[in-house]
Assembly symmetry: C2
Homo-oligomer: 233 residues x 2
């Protein structure tokens, strides 16, 4: 039974950010050990007296100084017993979303990481351990989830032009959308509110109105059995 002590428990975070029509993932460069200089997901070992969620929050704070809007357990990776060449480690992976205000604020505190940096999802380098595989699973999860839970708003500013929401769906789901139907559908749901704010529109000459996600209204609808759903033809 003593050999059960020899499995270490880690947490890793797949942090998604969205900027300039691109989905990004936050990576850190390892500072020490065998993997020195290699890009990996932020994460590390769980300490004995902290919960899993505390561990992942602490690691994100230490390695990237980042505040996330949304954090959810993704999957526990432990079927490849050699996923860490040093010793047996299982990793409880979490995926997180940050909004544009926090996107810029990546900085490091007390950390095992040399550097923290955003990488476009289609330009992820070869990572340490099985982290490329973990990102694939997280990418699929965010794509699925976007169609049945309004998590896209956690990647946008509090107030956003409607075209940003459309682009976010198009880009993350890698599918074209019928913009007119999308707008009609989304606005009919009742929890996306038009604000009084107008901003200059870089596309056409006309200023664009900003919109806001009303979480209270959404939660009220949920409690009445409402199901959010975005479908593509």
């Amino acid at each position: 039974m003593s050999e059960t002590n020899e499995i270490k428990v880690a947490v890793d975070a797949i942090v998604f950010g969205y900027q300039q029509n691109t989905l990004f993932v936050l990576l850190v460069k390892q500072k020490f050990g065998q993997m020195k200089g290699t890009w990996v997901l932020p994460g590390g070992f769980v300490l004995k007296h902290e919960s899993l969620i505390e561990a992942v929050t602490r690691e994100l704070q230490e390695e990237a100084g980042i505040q996330v809007n949304y954090l959810e357990q993704l999957y526990t990776f432990g079927d490849n017993i050699h996923r860490d060449p040093r010793f047996r480690v299982i990793s409880v992976a979490y995926f997180a979303l940050v909004n544009p205000n926090n996107f810029a604020l990546v900085e490091q505190n007390d950390t095992d990481a040399e550097e923290a940096q955003w990488f476009a999802i289609d330009r992820i380098p070869r990572l340490g351990y099985d982290h490329n595989e973990i990102i694939k699973v997280a990418h699929q999860r965010i794509k699925n989830k976007l169609t049945y839970q309004p998590i896209g708003f956690d990647l946008l500013a509090d107030e956003f032009p409607f075209s940003d929401l459309e682009s976010l769906y198009t880009i993350i789901l890698e599918q074209d959308i019928d913009r007119r139907n999308f707008r009609k559908k989304i606005l009919s749901l009742g929890f996306i509110e038009e604000t009084d704010t107008l901003v200059a529109n870089t596309g056409s000459g006309r200023p664009a109105r900003l919109f806001r996600f009303n979480k209270d209204t959404y939660n009220q609808l949920l409690s009445k059995g409402f199901h959010f759903e975005i479908k593509f033809a």
Copy 2:
């Protein structure tokens, strides 16, 4: 860093079976230690040289001698650091489905469990650790999953009267269904085949035809972008 060695990794399985219009969960009674005589989920510590999935399969074999049709990682429980009163343990929970042929075949091999037994989902006793909580999460998962993935067939015999499928949905989802629409919808999907087999129908006098789930047809549809979905009004 040495304290990271002190977290133990366990797997637990929530095995669902379906018999006589009732959803059941498989429990085992602990034979040794502080929890002797307490009902718990089948499970145990992961050994250093086995994958998580090997560990849960081994534990199911040892403690209940049971073959499952479907096995999927549910969630990793590790936020309550006192979930095991003896030491810090995180548990990677799996949910499993068994069909009626295997339902009866619960027997124990080399095991820490004194007894293995099915309990109706609404008659689960007070379990050891946080296992009542884990069952709640699994129950919610199976309810959700039933509406968007055809996992219900893993709880039925290979050939089944259509009324069994209807009852399974009604009972697990705890909702009445419009039987005529349900039948029409399900049969229109193309992967439920009528067989030539007729069985005596306990309800009416007329014999009932048996149906079969064709997994190959379903997988072909999936690869063409088909999405299974059962909606209730």
